[in-house]
Symmetry: C2
Subunit: 241 residues, 2 copies
DNA sequence: CGTTTATTTGACGCGGTTCAATCAGTGTGG
DNA sequence: CCACACTGATTGAACCGCGTCAAATAAACG
């Protein structure tokens, strides 16, 4: 929802945006508070449960969104049911295919997800008059490209153990960027074993076995079925290949 | 080299640019002839033999280029020598990492290659004053992202036969976009078996065997070692998974 | 030609898949 | 509160696609 008039005039930034990460690290950082207010008029928050489809492959592009909370899986499928997850979007990542008329992949909520949705027309109008906005989007796209290519290496050339280690490493460094190669990190896996398998180009059985192997090696601890603790990020990284 | 003054004043477009595909389908299409002339002052043609390194992983970004002729391999490597090709650039694709200070991959000439090289500063200056130029770059980046994700599916989920078929299909449709699922196409493979293997996440022996299998199936003919003919693109596509 | 490099072909073994059974966690209704 | 069903995870055993190693051809090059 758009910010209320009174708030706007008090501090210039819509309520909705104040605690949003996209305001700083995301694409909205390119906007002044006036522009933010203008854009906020065309946005609304949406909440989705795990498993819900956010974007369908082949559907028309009619809106975009920023991920405010949670994790979104981007996947592509073959006719016969084989699936590959081609990207994971965390807050405050941008969601959607700018400049395209049709979506080329499926987006699903991996966890409980909150989105800030904006209509295609509103964003494109604002982008046309604010090159800085398109520039932010360009940076995000370049980051996604780098990530996709990194995963290509992982999926194409690493062993099952290295792939699972790489996934855990990526989530760990997202969870606590400060712990980059050193220090303990704990997080909840946003993916089921089946999802992880679809991300890594493996089967869920193999993922399960390799998680067990990593646990036996002492580089991770697993609590319940989803909580993972990495006592020493460095030693996990060493197993990434 | 920049176009000569006399030419510029005659028809407005630098000689160098007249036959260049980037002028139409590439990023330079965003520029007026005056702007093209301005940019051409800071560009020069470069020719490279197969195998030459065009961009080194980890080097500073000091220039960009458009591929005018030939094929360029983009690859990433692991410390122990394993390598994965993460992209193929054909004319008139753009080469280089905009907005980054350091290159994150290696670019090598796969075939004889001709580039139109432009300095980082010159392109960034022009990009700052011409949003349309950045927009073109955005489109190219989005296309590369789509391609990287498509390959992720290929490498992560397809069988060896399907992967080799997918590579041939991609090159065939690039060679003759008109033959899209129908009609005969002949082309020279721009990759050695080893390169193809690095692209597909296989070994060169497997690539060789699957090419043999496709030949025995009758969906391709192989002349010498690099010339490939696809009599019926549709039947090749059917094997892509 | 002789040498070198790219490709093909064969035999064998292993990593990861497949199929199947068991177990754990979670909600549901009697 | 327990039995039951259901979904997700683990574990085991057999199989097989692809990698590995090795040797034979074929093409490229001086």
């Amino acid at each position: 929802m758009a910010g209320k008039r009174s708030d706007i005039h008090t501090d210039g930034v819509p309520v909705l945006c104040r605690s949003c990460e996209a305001r700083h690290r995301g694409i909205c950082g390119a906007l002044t508070s006036d522009e933010l207010t203008e854009l906020a008029r065309h946005t609304h928050k949406a909440r989705h449960a795990p498993g819900e489809e956010l974007i369908g492959d082949g559907t028309d592009v009619d809106s975009f969104a920023n991920v405010m909370r949670g994790v979104v899986k981007l996947s592509k499928g073959l006719e016969d049911g084989r699936r590959q997850i081609v990207g994971l979007q965390f807050a405050p990542d941008f969601l959607g295919r700018p400049f395209g008329s049709e979506n080329t992949l499926t987006a699903e909520a991996a966890s409980e997800v909150e989105l800030c949705v904006v209509s295609k027309t509103a964003l494109e109008r604002m982008m046309a008059e604010k090159p800085a906005l398109e520039n932010r989007l360009m940076h995000q796209t370049l980051r996604e490209l780098d990530e996709a290519r990194d995963w290509l290496v992982t999926v194409g050339r690493k062993t099952a153990l290295e792939r699972v280690a790489s996934l855990l490493h990526r989530i760990a460094t997202y969870t606590d960027p400060a712990a980059e190669s050193g220090g303990e990190v704990t997080f909840e896996l946003p993916l089921t074993r089946a999802d992880a398998a679809d991300f890594l180009g493996l089967t869920l059985e193999t993922v399960s076995r390799q998680l067990g192997a990593l646990r036996r090696l002492g580089v991770i601890r697993i609590t319940g079925t989803r909580m993972v603790t990495v006592p020493e990020l460095r030693s996990l990284k060493a197993l990434c290949g």
